[in-house]
Amino acid sequence: MESLIIKKTKQTPEINFNAQSGVLEIKGRSIPENSFEFYTPVLSWIDQYIKKPNENTIIKVYLEYFNTSSSKFILEIFKKLQKIQNIDNKNILIEWYYDKNDEEMMETGKDYKDVTELPFEIIINE
């Protein structure tokens, strides 16, 4: 399966989903005018990935700001990835990074942690 790489813009985050290593990274800010248009290929890639996931999947999120519709899609990504947990010998971990001065983003990570049933780590981005 091919990796999904989307370059970062002023309004959209960098997406670097590597199927071989199982490391899926989202970096930057997510305030697209049309979130559906931006996240549809991302969700489609995840649909394909969960059919044959890597032994260990780590999703690393380094978001500095995102709008409400993006928050829905981020939740959607986590929910889709939950399916990996039900597959034997497959592990998944979410690493939620936040700047040490960004308390809001840390709290947001906690909210996602509470609502998803995935192993979730909230990490300070030094």
């Binding site: 979130s35 559906f36 248009e37 700001y65 409400t68 519709s69 928050s71 809001e104 983003m105 947001t108």
Partner: protein, 161 residues
């Protein structure tokens, strides 16, 4: 369009339940299964709404704080620019007044003083020189004030356009 699409999965679930309701001759266990599915979807929507509302409020707060910081920085920046303009104008006024004073002194010394000394005496010339020296500071302040007024007026015109 985007708002509809982001809830596509939920809308599909709703449509399925509506279609189910239109069916006839269903058993109670089939109704139960459908109801369970509907409850499950509803629970999912409630939990999503809770988290999205919470996150949205927090992000709004973050945005407000950033705006406030930006506003304060703008004020600081404006103060610094004003201070710089004032210093620049003050230096300009000092230079102008100093040059004018030197010119006046030279004129007085070389052209006017011999006549004054001839007709009125040494002390009158000295008092005139003293007068020029004492007028330097008020003249500088007056010029500075006038130049500042002009600069503010120009800035106002630039801002308006």
């Amino acid at each position: 369009m985007s708002e509809i699409n982001i809830y596509q999965r939920e809308l599909d679930n709703l449509e399925q339940s509506k279609l189910f309701l239109k069916k006839r001759n269903l058993t109670s266990s089939e109704y139960r299964i459908e109801l369970e599915k509907l409850i499950e979807n509803y629970e999912d929507i409630v939990s999503q709404s809770k988290v999205i509302t919470k996150i949205s409020d927090r992000l709004q707060k973050k945005l407000d704080q950033t705006n406030e910081k930006l506003y304060n920085r703008n004020i600081q920046l404006q103060d610094t620019i004003d201070e710089l303009t004032k210093t620049k104008i003050s230096r300009k006024a000092t230079t102008i007044v100093f040059i004018v004073a030197i010119i006046l002194f030279l004129i007085l010394e070389s052209i006017i003083e011999p006549y004054i000394e001839k007709f009125t005496g040494f002390y009158t010339a000295l008092f005139i020189k003293l007068g020029i020296a004492l007028l330097i500071k008020p003249a500088e302040m007056l010029l500075e004030h006038s130049l500042l007024k002009k600069a503010r007026k120009e800035k106002l015109i630039v801002t308006e356009t």
